[in-house]
């Protein structure tokens, strides 16, 4: 314990921190099955370790088991983050945690821990919207100026455009997220969940040869993915003539084409020349390829990050929280609760000055 605290706690009010000082923030993320802690100093990631709760093939992760996993791993993960960053907790200016959206008990487990260290270290606490964490991290890493954002993960599928201090949801899934569709498809086929079901679908798809027509559902700016799953469940016997590789290939081509179509529509509406892909499904190289083909035709650019930042991680929460902290957006203690539904456009993006 002694090695973490070389100086006594010093009380430092927010007004004492001048804007030229480099802000050190720590972020705690655990809204789904990934537990991540990230430490950032002035836009540089000092540490970003992560632990993933992986279930056996054919099983999804349930909230209570996931909460358990996070509770069991968070103390060691915090030590790992502090060691890797080589910082003393007293150097931290703000503690950030994921307020939502996500699964209830995992979110609360991480929030309770964050509230505790925030008090022990005497630092202010900020609740961060998970989606905004993804967007702001991707913007920081890629340098994209004002892109149409395709945010695609196991829990969310949204097409977002920034306008007048809000990340406006242009289009979204009307039922399940595209990542959820991929995960549940993997469960039907009993694919391994290590390192993630989506990763294994992507590898198998590379060897797919036959395209099996699957339900393609785009409704204007929105998409629907539950039909594809129902179709595969109902026609499991007739689909047995196709290999697992063909099915993975066909599923990817279908759902990714839906994403590309709706993204293109948003670009046309906004006159955007940039696309930023973020969220766990954004790791998928085939999706990035298909998006690039569409953008090339329009003379636009695609930006994406690698799995360190696409997949849920603590640094994205630390970064978004640091931006909020920089402009004076704090969270009152009573507001440090968690919420499973938290719309991206609920947050006022005070830290951006562009229109």
């Amino acid at each position: 314990m002694g090695r973490y605290f070389s100086r006594p706690c010093c009380k430092r009010a927010f007004s004492d921190i001048n804007t030229s000082k480099m802000v050190v923030s720590i972020g705690f993320e655990g809204s789904a099955n990934k537990l991540g802690i990230g430490i950032i100093r002035d836009g540089i990631v000092l540490a970003n370790p992560r632990r993933t709760f992986i279930t056996p093939p054919g099983e999804g992760f349930k909230p209570v088991d996931t909460a358990n996993h996070h509770q069991l791993n968070i103390v060691l993960l915090l030590k790992e983050a502090l060691d890797e960053a080589k910082i003393d907790p007293q150097e931290i200016d703000v503690v950030c945690y994921t307020k939502g959206p996500g699964l209830g008990s995992p979110l609360v487990s991480v929030a309770v821990f964050a509230r505790t260290v925030s008090q022990l270290w005497g630092k202010p606490i900020i609740g961060v919207n998970h989606c905004i964490g993804h967007i702001e991290m991707a913007r920081l890493i890629t340098g994209a100026q004002n892109p149409i954002v395709l945010y695609v993960s196991g829990g969310n599928t949204q097409i977002i455009a920034y306008s007048q201090k809000r990340y406006r949801i242009f289009g979204e899934t009307v039922d399940i997220a595209v990542g959820n569709c991929l995960d549940r498809f993997a469960r039907l086929l009993k694919l391994s969940n290590h390192p993630s079901p989506g990763h294994n679908i992507e590898q198998l798809a590379k060897n797919g040869k036959i395209y099996v027509p699957l339900p393609y559902v785009v409704k204007g700016m929105d998409m629907s993915f539950s039909g594809v799953l129902t179709y595969i469940e109902e026609f499991a016997t007739t689909l047995q003539e196709y290999t697992v590789e063909d099915l993975c290939f066909s599923l990817q081509e279908t759902v990714f084409a839906m994403l590309v179509e709706t993204t293109e529509r948003a670009m046309a509406h906004c006159g955007a020349q940039e696309v930023l892909i973020c969220g766990g499904v954004g790791c998928n190289i085939r999706l990035q390829e298909m998006m690039s083909e569409m953008c090339k035709e329009r003379g636009a650019k695609v930006f994406a990050t690698d799995e360190r930042f696409c997949i849920d991680n603590g640094a994205m929460i630390a970064h978004a929280g640091a931006e909020m902290f920089r402009v004076g957006v704090l969270t009152s203690w009573e507001d440090t609760f968690c919420t499973q539904r938290y719309r991206t456009d609920e947050v006022e993006v005070k830290w951006r000055n562009d229109i």
């Binding site: 006594p8 209830g104 609360v108 509230r115 505790t116 022990l120 202010p124 606490i125 440090t336």
Partner: protein, 104 residues
């Protein structure tokens, strides 16, 4: 899960009360603040009330259903254990709980 009038475990509210002593009132306050923010899940009939008495954190639970009471108490204890681990590992040697700037 049927709760019939013949179910002898569920004819009137059941309750549980926990008293958890901490090494100091400061640390008990840390635990109290961390644990009092979250409400019980909407579907639960259990109510949870936390209070502080010097260095003792008190938690009282009341529920219309025994199984839900068990779940609420277990979840609370899991989070309490988590808070204790955080306190054990990350409390600064000269820790005194801060005044109100944090509780804005």
């Amino acid at each position: 899960m049927d709760i019939s009038s013949k179910d002898s475990l569920n004819c009137s509210p059941v309750s549980a009360e926990l008293h958890i002593p901490f090494p100091s009132a400061h640390l008990a306050t840390v635990a109290y603040n961390s644990l009092r923010v979250d409400k019980e899940p909407k579907r639960s009939t259990t109510t949870k009330v936390l209070s502080l008495e010097a260095n003792i954190l008190k938690a009282s639970f009341t529920s219309g259903d025994t199984r839900q009471l068990r779940t609420a108490v277990n979840s609370f204890l899991d989070l309490l254990i988590l808070v204790s681990k955080a306190i054990d590992e990350f409390t600064p040697p000269d820790f005194i709980i801060k005044e109100c700037p944090l509780m804005i």
